[in-house]
């Protein structure tokens, strides 16, 4: 009897060890898991496999789901910046593959909103900005990345040119707070303040800075920021 139990246990272990057998994961679930596990090689391989047969939109939808889980893990303190950087790389690689396929098929993914972002004048930090960009793209935003050290006037010109729903300003240095304020002031002077929502982000922004700058929201957490942005576009669409 004991022997039988043991062998059943062994079979059980074999099944649970290979998760795709044990839980009978679909390809989609396996793909999301590979991204969340930050297994770059596996995620890219599965994406390639799926894009051979599936609608690229499905793959992009799964990227959004994976990004949500990653964001939650960061909020819970299970993931750190280094994990988000790796996740960002995977999301970007796969997203580029899927978009290329979409273009080849003559299709486009539905865009939920337009998001313009840049690191403000005098600051060149871009790790946080780049994480926000991959998270926002995964969520379905069209993102216009202005880059780093962006003067207020460039933000204004880009708003006129691209007509975004949301403007994001990123910065880590103390002086970035001043630059953000100058940028918001320039947007106001150009008469564009009512046309856009403004969110600021970075290691040193807080509610105090947000009020001083005149932004609509602030965040230190990319996925939290994307959640705020999603609520804005939802509100806008009514």
């Amino acid at each position: 009897m004991a022997r039988l139990t043991l062998s059943i246990l062994k079979i059980y272990i074999v099944f649970t060890k290979n998760s795709s057998w044990g839980t009978r994961m679909s390809l989609s679930e396996e793909f999301i898991k590979a991204i969340v596990d930050l297994d770059e090689a596996k995620a890219v391989e599965l994406a390639r496999k799926r894009l051979e047969t599936e609608d690229p939109v499905n793959v992009l939808d799964d990227l959004r789901k994976a990004a949500e889980v990653i964001g939650e893990k960061y909020e819970k303190g299970e993931f750190f910046i280094a994990d988000l950087v790796m996740a960002g790389e995977i999301l970007k690689t796969v997203s580029d593959m899927a978009r290329e396929k979409l273009r080849a098929l003559g299709k486009a993914r539905e865009v939920i909103g337009k998001f313009l972002i840049g690191t403000v004048e005098g600051d060149i930090h871009d790790i946080g900005k780049n994480i926000v960009i991959t998270m926002a793209e995964a969520a379905g935003f069209e993102v216009i990345d202005l880059g780093v050290d962006i003067p207020p006037q460039k933000f204004v010109e880009a708003i006129k040119q691209h007509n975004p729903d949301i403007v994001g300003m990123s910065g880590l240095l103390t002086l970035a707070i001043e630059s953000m304020k100058r940028t918001v002031d320039s947007i106001k002077e150009a008469g564009l303040r009512d046309k856009v929502k403004i969110i600021i982000g970075g290691g040193r922004v807080d509610q105090y800075a947000c009020e001083y700058i005149g932004a609509d929201a602030w965040t230190n957490d990319a996925s939290q920021g994307v959640k705020i942005m999603l609520s804005w576009v939802k509100e806008k669409k009514g």
Binding site: F80, A82, V85, I124
Partner: protein
């Protein structure tokens, strides 16, 4: 109405009347805290940043390039906002440890070339930094840009001979002012750097004399670095370093191991002189790593640097950038009394203190945002409450998380910060 004399006013007067006595008191206070004991009062660390510029009318450009303008501004600032500890770094403004690595075999100047200065940047035209009045406005703090100057497939060369690789391969890529190694431009540029460093050294010695006369003690200092931060700050950019840890873990670890010896060579070029010679290390990637990655790629090599130097008789002085809370327990692996841990913004400062008290000298506790945006009353209340929870245990130095205050900080708030420690810091 006669203005009320606050403890800070009395302290300023004592600085004027008996600077030698005040300096000795400060040195004793600081050393007691380093020995984990309770001094007469909690030592308070000084402030600086853009606030120093607005208060004294000096610009970052002056602090970087116009050496003759530095002493009057710094003297005024130190007079009006006295503290127990503060470093006047100007004109040594930015990280330049990579240059010390390139010359790790030259103990006579490896430590001097360790910080980047504006005048040396003008010669090297390095891409790691941007300077006020050069690439950025005169009123901006010099900026460290970093960058990617090494490909992942070059780890092997870095591991084989870090000093040679940095000198022969990285410097020519990152410093267009140098030209090709061995060329006339290369040799001429280094001669110019030597002449410039001599001028800066003379300035620092004379500045030390001026501050000593104003009641500011000084301790000999040397420098070290975390191997993983050498890779992130100067070779692969932090993003590249974080990706490499996952993509090329063995190469990354072997490179960290190979960097330890040259780092220690630089540190030990200044001998450990009693009562204390500190080695300063600012940490950069720490906050961004999960405990798993920190314990695999960062801490083992940093720990080796720290313990090697502590064994040789140095004391550590480490700036833990960002929120170091997830990794605080590892500090307990170091020998008791190893040195000072300065925390920028741990989620819960008191928790960190509770963990480390009696083992590590803890520095920090006050958010620059409170001093910049609070009121004198709020600042006093906060510091009173914090000190009540920390005392009577010794081994504590009250400081801002990072000693840089924004330009619009009200001077009354800075006075309130110092005053509160003088009032409530007595053991």
């Amino acid at each position: 109405m006669v203005p009320v004399k606050e403890p800070i006013d009395e302290w300023i007067e004592r600085h004027e009347k008996e600077p030698d006595v005040v300096a000795k008191e400060k040195a004793d206070r600081f050393l007691k805290a380093v020995e984990l004991k309770a001094p007469d009062r909690v030592p308070v660390a000084g402030v600086g940043g853009d606030f120093l510029c607005t208060y004294t009318g000096i610009t970052w450009h002056d602090l970087s390039y116009n050496l003759d303008k530095i002493p009057p501004a710094v003297s005024k600032f130190l007079h009006d906002f006295p503290s127990d500890w503060g470093i006047v770094f100007a004109p040594m403004m930015l990280e330049g440890f990579i240059f010390a690595l390139a010359f790790a075999d030259f103990p006579d100047f490896a430590n001097l070339i360790r910080f980047l200065t504006g005048p040396v940047h003008d010669i090297l035209k390095d891409k790691w930094s941007q300077w006020p009045g050069r690439e950025i406005p005169e009123t901006y703090h010099p900026q460290f840009r970093g960058g990617e100057f090494m490909n992942p497939d070059e780890y092997k060369k870095l591991i084989e001979n870090p000093v040679e690789f940095v000198h022969n391969t990285i410097l020519p890529r990152a410093c267009p002012g140098l030209g090709k190694p061995g060329s006339s431009q290369w040799n001429g540029a280094w001669i110019r750097v030597g002449i410039t460093l001599q001028r800066i050294l003379e300035f620092l010695i004379s500045m030390g004399g001026i501050t000593a006369k104003a009641g500011v003690p000084s301790f000999p200092m040397t420098n070290a670095y975390t191997p993983a931060d050498v890779i992130g700050d100067f070779l692969r950019h932090p993003t590249g370093a974080m990706l490499d840890m996952r993509r090329y873990p063995d190469d990354f670890k072997a490179a960290c191991e190979a960097l330890i010896d040259p780092i220690l060579k630089i540190s030990t070029s200044v001998p450990p002189i009693p009562p204390a010679t500190f080695f300063f290390i600012p940490l950069h990637l720490n906050e961004m790593l999960s405990p798993k990655m920190y314990n695999e790629f960062y801490w083992p090599y940093l720990k080796k640097v720290i313990t090697s130097l502590v064994d040789k008789g140095y004391k550590g002085f480490i700036f833990f950038e960002g929120d170091h809370s997830p990794h605080v327990d590892t500090i307990l692996e170091l020998p008791k009394g190893w040195g000072i841990a300065w925390f920028e913004r741990p989620k819960n400062f008191l928790k960190v203190w509770e963990k480390l008290k009696g083992h590590t000298t803890v520095m920090g506790g006050v958010s620059p945002a409170l001093i910049a945006g609070g009121t004198p009353e709020k600042i006093e209340e906060y510091i009173k409450d914090l000190l009540n929870q920390i005392k009577p245990e010794g081994g504590f130095i009250l400081s801002l998380g990072v000693n840089e205050l924004p330009k619009d900080t009200p001077p009354a708030n800075v006075r309130a910060y110092i005053n509160a420690v003088l009032k409530y810091g007595i053991y």
